[in-house]
């Protein structure tokens, strides 16, 4: 079975390629990349469209096992494919927690049987993500996890975090930290500032993130182990990462599309779909995050796709859980906010969704080269689409972008040589 992608503008950030070429796919791999390849069994006319390595999301929440009503491994991969992703990394905050090899194997098994793209699990740092004792990281590494994280629970115990950073040296995998000092953020629901004051909602200060980042950077320096900081939200955090990088600390960072698109002002609608953790911040933070992306202080864009049931999310602002879905809108928000506004070139933007996360996770993905896995996304930069609740392939519909018109339409997503998503509109 072979597939020819003809006449597309091929962008491969890993090799700084940006030119019109044909790509022949065979047996799940990229067979040939060349100017003129004769047509074969099936040909996709990609002329006028962008051909990019399949996108990689290193921060996804699938709700299986535990909350299959909100998202399954299957539905999550459908949503991912619609968004142009061919690899997603699922966070361990499931029930049971991904803190032992059998849950890791369960996810691989499920994804192989029911998924349409690749799912790579992230293992918990501590057992049940309780921050008390280390999980069996080594056994999970052997079972195939690509990173470790306690996700929404920052490892408060500094001693344990030090030991975790030391321990991962055996496997050469990154630790991902959701930096939030909960003794400071308490039960806040939005950014602390003028808007939390006038709305009477409890605030989460930027410093809850910044003090946590500072500690983790310090421990990364102490141990020499790489640290990846999840979803930066504040200008101060960007500065901390910048300083750490300048002094040679092995730190990397990500930002979500909602944090570079929306500000705390959105909360005045009281729409629970503006409730995310870390919270939406101010205008200055948004500008700093964009600058950080531009200056390569932030090398990854990740979705933090967090499905929640309608019953839970459509209650009131205080009872609703944190989080929004993001897989199906990420690429379009990157185009709208970063590429069209000339913060990033298209190739730089795509690097943060492909080769950069692949390098951090040390996986051989995110590039277009002969012999590589045929994971690609083909999208139209010049077409718009309207975000509609009923069109989401995710089981959950909790998005603040419903009703928005966004640029960038994914036409085909190709995983291991097969078309796993096709735009039919």
């Amino acid at each position: 079975m072979s597939l020819l992608i003809k006449g597309g503008r091929v962008i491969d950030p890993a090799t700084n390629t940006d030119e019109i070429m044909d790509i022949l796919l065979e047996k799940g791999e990229i067979k040939k990349i060349s100017k003129n390849i004769d047509s074969c069994e099936e040909t996709l006319n990609a002329s006028g469209k962008i051909v990019s390595p399949g996108l990689i999301d290193m921060h996804t929440h699938l709700r299986e096992p535990g909350r299959e009503d909100e998202e399954t491994i299957q539905s999550g991969t459908y949503a991912a494919a619609r968004g142009g992703f061919t690899t997603i990394c699922c966070m361990p905050n499931t029930t049971p927690t991904i803190d032992n090899p059998s849950v890791v194997k369960f996810i691989y098994e499920k994804a192989r049987k029911e998924g349409i793209i690749e799912v790579l699990p992230i293992g918990a740092i501590s057992k049940e993500r309780k921050g008390e004792e280390l999980s069996e990281m080594g056994r999970m590494w052997k079972a195939g996890v690509v990173a470790f994280s306690d996700d929404g629970n920052w490892v408060e115990n500094t001693y344990l975090m030090r030991r975790a950073l030391e321990y991962v040296k055996m496997f050469n995998l990154p630790l991902i930290s959701h930096c939030e000092d909960k003794t400071l953020s308490q039960d806040g629901v939005m950014n602390e500032g003028y808007f939390s004051t006038i709305l009477g909602l409890k605030g989460i200060p930027r410093e809850a993130e910044e003090v946590a980042i500072f500690r983790d950077i310090t421990l990364s320096k102490m141990t020499g182990s790489p640290l990846h900081v999840a979803h930066l939200s504040s200008a101060g955090s960007v500065k901390l990462i910048e300083q750490a990088k300048k002094s040679g600390i092995k730190v990397s960072a990500e930002v979500t599309p909602h944090h570079f698109t929306l500000t705390e002002k959105e909360v005045t609608s009281f729409n629970p779909n503006t409730r995310v953790n870390p919270p939406l911040r101010g205008e200055k933070d948004l500008i700093a995050l964009k600058e950080g992306l531009k200056n390569e202080i932030i090398e990854v864009i990740a979705t933090d796709h967090a499905p929640h049931s309608q019953e839970e999310k459509e209650s009131d602002y205080v009872s609703a859980p944190f989080g929004i879905i993001g897989l199906e809108t990420a690429l379009s928000l990157v185009i709208k906010e970063l590429v069209e506004k000339k913060v990033l070139s298209l190739i730089q933007a795509l690097s943060k969704l492909t080769i950069n996360p692949a390098r951090i996770l040390k996986i051989d993905r995110g590039r277009i080269k002969e012999g590589a896995k045929a994971n690609l996304v083909i999208f139209d930069l010049n077409k718009n689409w309207v975000v509609r609740k009923e069109d989401f392939l995710s089981k959950s519909k909790n998005s603040p972008f419903i009703g928005w018109t966004l640029p960038g339409v994914v036409e085909w997503t190709i995983f291991e040589g097969r078309i796993v998503y096709r735009n039919t509109k």
């Binding site: 602390e192 500032g193 003028y194 939390s196 004051t197 006038i198 709305l199 009477g200 909602l201 605030g203 009281f270 019953e311 459509e314 209650s315 009131d316 602002y317 205080v318 009872s319």
Partner: protein
């Protein structure tokens, strides 16, 4: 002017002329309270539901009286004796009551924004009777009415609000209303009970009650909740009283004609010495009386005419 709103949600988005129109309408209801038969038929045939998801005595009774004075049919709801204890959601509760064809919901809820979300969704009038620490518009309107009634004006008056500003919906609504009517507003309390960046609401912040009281025309004392001390917001009720109780000595620092207000319920002996309850400076009970006519005015403007 004409009042064309479907709902009364907060003072933040009310224009100066809308506020004055409500106060003038309330004034025209004043004499009804002194009639032997205190009822007019303005809301005959209308049904108002009082949905109080949070405990309330004064506000709930005041609304109920206002509704009855206007001849509305009144339904009262509180979660302790309702389907909420059976796990029914807020949205379901409201939609079920709406299916019984009612005209207005008066809502109190502990979460900011709940009346706003319902107002967006429902075709009937919503009156916010307090949403968390966000807004309490009818309280602010009765405060404005009381100030105007006793001082004859609001513009350029210096008004001080003392206490737990951070958790007070009354403070927020009062600040919006008072600043819109061009009064000068000060707030005073322990730093952790003054919310961040409140200066942007055009108020002056004081941590010393002695300093804050100077030149003030009206002081509005807020209730302090004992459980706040567990969160490290202040150290003890006793120490709070030492610094923020409106004692006679402190009152001497203020203008001679200063008036004292309080949205109630008062913690006598904490923010106010018990003596104050008998002081001529106190207009706390005027506030309670005016609450009824202000609420009558709001109900009338939202429901009593053909919009």
């Amino acid at each position: 002017m004409d009042f064309k709103r479907k709902d009364l949600l907060g003072l933040e988005d009310l224009a100066e002329e809308e506020i004055l129109f409500i106060l003038d309408t309330a004034k025209s209801f004043r004499e009804i309270l002194n009639r032997p038969i205190k009822k007019i038929p303005a809301l005959r045939g209308k049904t108002v539901v009082n949905l109080f998801f949070e405990a309330s005595t004064r506000t709930r009774m005041s609304f109920e009286l206002a509704e009855k004075r206007l001849n509305a049919d009144v339904l009262n709801f509180s979660p302790s004796n309702s389907s909420i204890v059976k796990g029914e959601s807020l949205q379901d509760t409201v939609k079920n009551i709406l299916a019984m064809k009612v005209d207005c919901f008066v809502i109190r809820h502990s979460t900011p924004g709940v009346p706003y979300l319902l107002a967006k969704e429902l075709p009937v009038s919503i009156i916010n009777a307090g949403d968390g620490a966000h807004e309490h518009p009818t309280q602010a309107l009765l405060d404005l009415y009381t100030i105007r009634e006793t001082k004859g004006r609001i513009k350029d008056l210096k008004i001080l609000i003392v206490g737990d500003i951070a958790h007070s919906r009354v403070a927020r609504s009062d600040i919006w209303g008072l600043t819109r009517l061009k009064a000068k507003v000060r707030v005073c309390g322990p730093p952790a009970l003054i919310p961040p960046m409140i200066e942007k609401m055009a108020v002056e912040v004081f941590f010393s009650l002695e300093e804050a009281l100077r030149e003030v025309d009206i002081v509005m004392m807020l209730r302090i909740q004992k459980e706040r001390q567990n969160w490290g917001l202040f150290s003890s009720i006793g120490e709070y009283r030492d610094f923020f109780s409106l004692t006679e000595e402190r009152l001497k620092l203020a203008r001679k004609d200063i008036l004292i207000m309080h949205p109630g319920p008062v913690n006598w002996g904490v923010e106010l010495p018990f003596k104050t309850s008998k002081s001529k400076k106190s207009i706390i009970l005027n506030q309670v009386t005016n609450g009824i006519i202000v609420r009558m005015a709001i109900l009338y403007l939202l429901l009593g005419r053909n919009r």
